[in-house]
Amino acid sequence: MLRNYFKTAFRTLVRHLNYTIINVAGLTVGIAVCMMIFVIIQYQTSFDTYHANRSRVYRVLTEHRSSDAANIPFSKDVPFPLPNALKTSFPQIEKVTPIFASNNDQILVTDENGKTLQQFIEPKGVFFTEPSFFELFDFPLLAGTYTSLQEPNNVLLSKATAEKYFGDWHLALNKTIKIQVGGYVFEHGTEVLKVSGILENPPANTDFQFKALVAYGTGFTGSLMNKSIDWNDRTNQGFSCFVRLPEQTAASGINKELATYAAKVQSADNKDVYQLQALADVHYDTQAGNFSNTAISKQLINVLWVIAAFILLIACVNFINLSTAQAVNRAKEVGVRKVLGSNKSRLQIQFIVETFLVVLFAVILAIILTVLTLPYINQLLNLSLSLQIVDRVQTLLFLLAITISVTVLAGFYAALVLSRFNPIEALKSRFKVNSGKGLSLRRGLVVFQFIIAQALIIGTLVIVKQMNFFMNAPLGFQKEAVVNIPFRVDSLRISRLDYLRGKLMSIKGVEGVSFSSNTPVEDGADNWTSFRFNNATKESDYKVITKFTDDQYLSTYHLQLVAGRNLKPSGYTQEFVVNESFVRSLGIKNPEDVLRKKVSIWNGLINCEVVGVVKDFNNRSFRDQVAPLVMTTNNTMYNQAGIQLTATNIPATLAAVKALFSETIPDFVFEYKFLDEKVDGFYRSEMQLAQLYQLFAIIAIFLSCLGLYGLASFMAAQRVKEVGIRKVLGASTGNIIYLFTKEFILLIGIAFAIATPLAWYYMHQWLQDYAYRIEIVWWLPLIGGIGALVIALLTISFQAVKAAVAKPVKSLRTE
């Protein structure tokens, strides 16, 4: 019996090949999208879940109580004294592990005589930590020992890094490398490190994407960080602390003690408190972030789930629409089968089996499609998804669930409709499928599809428009044809800065050169400080950005003075230039009024007069308002050159600049980045979101149109005779096409009316994240609606025209 079901089902599918292809194609795309999202989510939720002690590991977060609302209230950076304080004053904590994540480190691979063989720059992935790191996290060792990290100037390399530096990781052990750390604001020298072990490469699903683990205590981590007793030191960027608690110990109790303890050890004006955050929450904390910038919000994961569900539903709706369309053609078969003794439930089983075969086929194709498109998704989302990561059992269960639920969702209604045909009417082909309910369900489904499709289109339009705004809105400074070249100062190099500037200026195509600690705009890489204005007794309760810049900064980046004068050339810190926001934050209206007033920053370490005020420029990404800013000279703080180029023959100029840098600052990897590209990079996550939305919008509209095509063909089949009669009575081709399209125009209109406020609301919410944002103008949703309508009408018109030009004789000859 079952074999008979499968045999008939297979033959039916082959006979109606067109419908089968459309059905399989729609379901394949829908299921593939679902699977892709499943893989992404499985990947995202697997981060750092493989550590044996994961449930007992916590990260210490700083809650900034003294900062203004514009600053991040939670940070992963902790004060330098915290790890030692936890070790000594909190015996109930089993393990305390400080981690300092540096960035843009220069690595020199040398021969036995210390001669440089190779240079590398490691933007990320160098961590300074203690052996206890491995009692919190599981990272297998290939050679050497974990405990070697106890000794300063030892380093454990990952296998890939060892291979990069030495060719073969077996050769790396006991070799030495030199490191010039880039991720700390103060000057420090070169450290010589001995490779004391090789670690297996970290898996893709950990936030600790290390290349090298250096012993905490090496260089300034030992001389400065580990010895620090200054809880107010704000140079702690990248300094984190993880702890391991005993079993059955709640974090909440320790949090309470930590608050009391912080109040005790910190100065009165420092209200910051510290909290333990479970390791399981780290990957989802987009506010505090993590070491590899891979944090993803739970909200985004939920949005992905919802999109997956919607796309799958759209695909199921298509199946229902197409199957019921087919039902018209199959009514006779149902009649014959019923006359020959089949009953309702047997027919239902038969149709379900057909659906099952289609779904099964679609699932197989979807798996192939997923595997084939995974590299593109990786590229698009900057992920490293692979089927190795995928939990096979979970995936199989997921596919099984998809197969069953789609079969039920898609097949059940069609089976119900088909099996219900009255055999006598069906045989006389006088059945009516479209009386009332049936078609209105289909109408509802079409409206539903187009709500989703149009909402996604409108969302995409809004994101794209905001992206254009990011790229093109004026920032208040020159970003075109400006390159930034990082370098690291030491006393030797400082002495060469003036020489370097003179030589750079003599290169043809160089218009201006400025040395500074930061470019005009940074995305989170600024130095913030609280300050005292005009010898006030109390520190400000908000922070300002500090940029160390030379006197050429204003001219190179085309910044405008609104009061006072520019900084005088100096290697030391003598005076301040502030921005308009700084003036305004003090409640002062006239910029002239801040001139010659004293500003003291860094706990009184720097105390100088304001000599000038610059016009506000966007010193943060468009997510945030312009922040108050102080700028001052100090050549020990400069770490990059900003070079304004003439627009012509940039490659030749850059080649000359590179030659000059290699000569003047040897042992340093020459890198450059165009400022406009750097600014564009601030919005990478938005760019990804835009591309993701585009992709989903295209898939949703494609699937919806596939469904429309099905419904149009259903209508055409249903109304062949009516069209014939109308034509005999004088209807023109245009009349008939209108007859077919007016209903869909209405349905899409209804969908538009529902989708627009929904999309407007959500996109309005999304835009609230940006201090600088576009308005959702009225014609933006309209473009989305009209776009969807045009695509839909093109889809329907094929069937409509076919029906309209058919000769009426044929359709009326049925008697």
């Binding site: 014939g724 009669i725 005999v728 009575l729 004088g730 209807a731 023109s732 004789v809 009326l812």
Partner: protein, 225 residues
């Protein structure tokens, strides 16, 4: 009014070519009532379709009101059709989704008659066909005879010069059938030309002239009046 000469029509399938009309010639004068009879497959319906400009012939000439229409394209033929010809079918061919009133109104919409004028015309013809009281019913709610009266009303609402009837009584009992035949006779007496395909000798006797067909050709003509 109608003059066809050496009209030919073939139906081709992959292997067989069937001749539906074989050099058929005939003439119908304005005001005539002609019945076309013959066995199944003799080409009656094909002839009627060509006369109604729903189908085109493969060869021969078809002059309608002094105009040669056999080479006209679909659009031109549709234009002549909607202004000059009304159809009555054996199975009524009413649109189930439309009411009696709306069914009858349809040809007027397609010929671009104004709404106020339409109302007047539809009511007049419904009245004449004595189905005014059924104007808001749907076709399924009517008896066969009533449905055919609606179909006739729809065929004549535009005041066509020619009515083509394809076995108009085929789905009706004899009393309903007679009613419909009397309706057609009345219309003919008021000046409408009627060409009717029928199997029924009884119905054929309502006409002026009977054309008998076999294998795509006319075999005999009986002039009754």
């Amino acid at each position: 009014m109608i003059k066809i000469t050496d009209l030919e029509k073939f139906y081709r399938t992959e292997e067989v070519e069937t001749i539906a009309l074989n050099k058929l010639s005939m003439e119908v004068k304005e005001g005539e009532f002609v019945a076309v009879m013959g066995p199944s497959g003799c080409g009656k319906s094909t002839l009627l379709n060509i006369l109604g400009m729903l189908d085109d012939a493969d060869a021969g000439s078809f002059v309608f009101n002094g105009i040669e229409v056999s080479k006209f394209n679909e659009r031109k033929r549709a234009d002549i059709r909607k202004h000059n010809i009304g159809f009555v079918f054996q199975s009524f061919n009413l649109i189930d989704e439309l009411t009696v009133y709306e069914n009858v109104e349809l040809p007027l919409i397609y010929t671009g008659v104004k709404a106020s004028e339409r109302k007047e015309k539809v009511e007049k013809v419904l009245d004449k066909m004595q189905i005014m009281h059924r104007r808001n019913h749907y076709p399924q709610q009517l008896s066969g005879g009533q449905q055919q009266r609606v179909a006739v009303a729809r065929a004549v609402v535009n005041n066509p010069k020619l009515i083509l009837a394809d076995e108009p009584t085929g789905n009706l009992d004899s009393s309903n059938g007679n009613e419909v035949m009397e309706l057609l006779t009345d219309l003919n007496e008021q000046g409408t030309t009627i060409i009717m395909v029928t199997h029924s000798e009884h119905d054929a006797r309502f006409s002026h002239r009977i054309i008998r067909m076999l294998d795509g050709q006319t075999v005999t003509e009986n002039i009754l009046v």
